[in-house]
């Protein structure tokens, strides 16, 4: 199912090399730059792209996970970090400061932005694309990595299956909280042995198919077309502007001990614009394809 959805999408149909460079650059910038404008842009791009990749119901269910996570990260930081010039109150003799609250919020924005982009990554960069890119150069490492990257989605899918099976057998079918917790724990123990076994079986099966041998072809073949080259050029240009701007320090921003002013020089604005376009690129491509599709259908 993942593979199909990854291929049907306009952005997912680009060459794996372009996609890999794109995701790596977005993730690195989003994770390591502490500028509120860039962080917000990465989060917005992630939200929009995720929205185009999944059904609306899934998006609402995600909200139930990301909102508590947001609050948890934002609240945890001021409890453990006490730097900052504006104390709000004192906890066991250490100050809880406004700056730490701001930093917590910024951290939450970053964490959720990166998580959303990773989610998009796993939807778009399916295993066959990953193995196409790295399978030849480093077969063992790339198989391990691709198994590790898809571990959590596969784990969740299987644990839902096990849980349903247990419920059908009438084990811990009670509605009370302790019953549900016990059910989860039972599923968890089953899942640990299953995942170990699954990893072994996967590698054995790959070996049986001659994976890593000389002269083997890939499951999926990709051709580097002119549109891939165009996207790669745009992407590298935007990446260069953002990376050079950040390295020179035009977007430098600090939260401690005092929240600094958001840099708004022309250079900084250029970097914001470049990174904004970069993070919106997949959503723009998806949006354009959707419009074209509507247009063609309206002509029928």
């Amino acid at each position: 199912m993942d593979r199909r959805s990854g291929k049907l999408k306009a952005f997912g149909s680009y060459h794996p090399t372009v996609l890999m460079i794109y995701f790596l650059s977005i993730l690195l910038i989003a994770a390591f730059l502490s500028n509120p404008v860039l962080q917000t842009e990465a989060l917005l791009g992630g939200i929009l792209f995720c929205a185009t990749l999944q059904r609306r119901g899934d998006g609402l269910r995600d909200l139930g996970f990301y909102l508590p996570l947001f609050l948890m990260v934002a609240v945890t930081n001021p409890i453990f970090s006490h730097n900052g010039v504006t104390p709000l109150f004192f906890l066991n003799g250490n100050p809880v400061t406004l700056e730490a609250v701001f930093y917590g919020i910024a951290l939450a924005v970053t964490v959720i932005g990166v998580l959303l982009w990773c989610k998009c990554y796993s939807r778009i960069m399916t295993e066959d694309k990953f193995l196409y890119l790295f399978g030849r150069a480093a077969p063992k490492l790339s198989l391990t990595l691709s198994m590790a990257l898809r571990f959590i989605p596969v784990f969740l899918r299987q644990s839902r299956r096990v849980s349903r099976a247990q419920k059908a057998m009438g084990l811990y079918a009670g509605k009370s909280i302790p019953d549900r917790v016990k059910n989860r724990l039972r599923v968890m123990t089953a899942m640990i042995s299953w995942s170990l076994e699954h990893a072994m079986e996967t590698s054995a099966s790959m070996k049986a198919r001659g994976y890593g041998n000389k002269g083997r072809t890939n499951f999926s073949l990709f051709r580097f077309r002119a549109s891939d080259g165009a996207l790669l050029a745009v992407l590298l240009l935007l990446l260069a502007v953002s990376a050079v701007g950040a390295a020179v320090g035009v977007t430098a921003f600090s939260y401690y001990p005092k929240v600094s002013v958001i840099p708004l020089s022309p250079d900084a604005l250029t970097v914001y614009a470049a990174f904004g376009i970069l993070s919106l690129l997949p959503s723009i491509i998806e949006g354009k394809e959707a419009v074209v599709w509507r247009f063609y259908r309206s002509r029928i």
């Binding site: 006490h82 004192f90 100050p95």
Partner: protein, 184 residues
């Protein structure tokens, strides 16, 4: 249903214990310390806080701290000040009283969280460990000597002089010789 109530009670109990162990003070409450009267016969100690070791390493300092607001031009955060010594006061108690009275920001890690069984001072006046290079942080000296244990385990005597010094190379610029294996 009974199980649910039990689970909720259990969680409430844990929360109650956590909240009970937490002390919340407003800003004015925290800084509200009555000054001890220094009488001629009272025991007293002197404390000072300095960060002048930063100036030779200014290029390593965190750019966010490079202003007079955070780095006093003479490197003196607290000039030598006398405090009345109460029974059993440690270096940490005096420091805590001094920063509260002078509205100096301070962050510490409690003795129960530290592997050394003593309070660890992470930062004073927004100057933190690692704010000025990888070997920087706060050290203390009593009567010119560097004790080999934490500040909340050093019980003070009458007339002792405490100095809190910011160091940029594990205390060597402040005069500590523990790196070379010799004690001073």
């Amino acid at each position: 249903m009974k199980k649910n109530i039990l689970a909720v009670c259990g969680i409430a109990l844990i929360l109650a214990i956590l909240i009970n162990g937490t002390q919340v003070q407003s800003v004015s409450e925290y800084y509200l310390t009555h000054i001890d009267d220094l009488t001629p016969e009272s025991e007293r100690v002197t404390i000072s806080i300095r960060c002048d070791a930063i100036f030779p390493h200014y290029d390593e300092l965190d750019p966010a701290l490079r202003s007079e607001e955070f780095l006093p031009p003479d490197g003196v955060i607290l000039p030598p000040t006398e405090y009345r010594l109460r029974e059993g006061d440690t270096v940490f108690d005096i420091l805590n009283r001094a920063v509260r009275q002078n509205h100096i920001q301070m962050e510490f890690q409690g003795a129960e969280e530290s592997p050394f069984g003593s309070v660890y001072i992470k930062g004073i006046h927004y100057l933190y460990e690692f704010s000025c290079g990888p070997l920087s942080g706060w050290v203390y000296r009593v009567d010119g000597a560097f004790p080999h244990y934490g500040c909340s385990r050093y019980t003070l005597r009458d007339g002792q002089v405490i100095e809190w010094l910011y160091t940029c190379d594990l205390g060597q610029d402040a005069g500590a010789k523990w790196i070379g294996g010799r004690e001073n």
